[in-house]
Amino acid sequence: MKPLELATETRVRVESELDIVTARMRGRALAIQLGLRPTSATLIATAISELARNILLYAQDGEIVLCPIERGAHKGLAVIARDDGPGIRDVTRAIEDGYSTSGRLGMGLPGVRRLMDEFHIQSRVGEGTTVTVKKWNE
């Protein structure tokens, strides 16, 4: 018998600053619900905050999808940040410390990469950007 799945996928539309707060609150709540440590939940919430702000800053709108994930006995949370914005011309540089095209600190994407266990970015100029990050319980 399949165990009862309490936590399900959550989608948060990102089109205003308030949505950044909503997305990270949902992410934290889901992480706790999935049994991740409070410290991990904070790292996840911080990563979501950065990803959601990037959506607003570069694409104006998009969405954050939160998915419970499993690998063997391990449980975790995947965060997918997706937009149909202008895309990133130089993905390799975008994940370097201190690189920014917005005049900001350039700590966002490299920071997110360090907060999470897995990091994947796909971007096409003119088509948009999808960043997928995962955090596993230990």
Partner: protein, 122 residues
Amino acid sequence: MEVPILKQGPYLIAIIQSALTDADIVHLRDALVEKVGRHRSLGVIIDVTALDVMDSFATGTLRDMAHMVLLRGAETVIVGIQPDVAFAMVHMGLKMEGVATALDLEEGLAYLDQRTKAARHR
């Protein structure tokens, strides 16, 4: 949500009570920088105990605020950064360079008293 700013003798105390949007943080920065002049304050305490996330924007804006307050002639101390928040900030590589921090409100007040001793006895 607007952060209330209390005047306590020569100090201004801002106690953040819930999650803030980017605009809220910018508003807090501008209000504090303005009020330091209006009240001729010597010090500012920002209590971030209630913040469960300090991302690059929040950290950068608080740091700017402290530097702006200093340019207006007052000291700033940030109090109440939670252990998990500190952990996340270090992981991200976010720094509070040149900005004083203290454990809580009490320690923050003690720090400001120390720093502004000479000015208060003029």
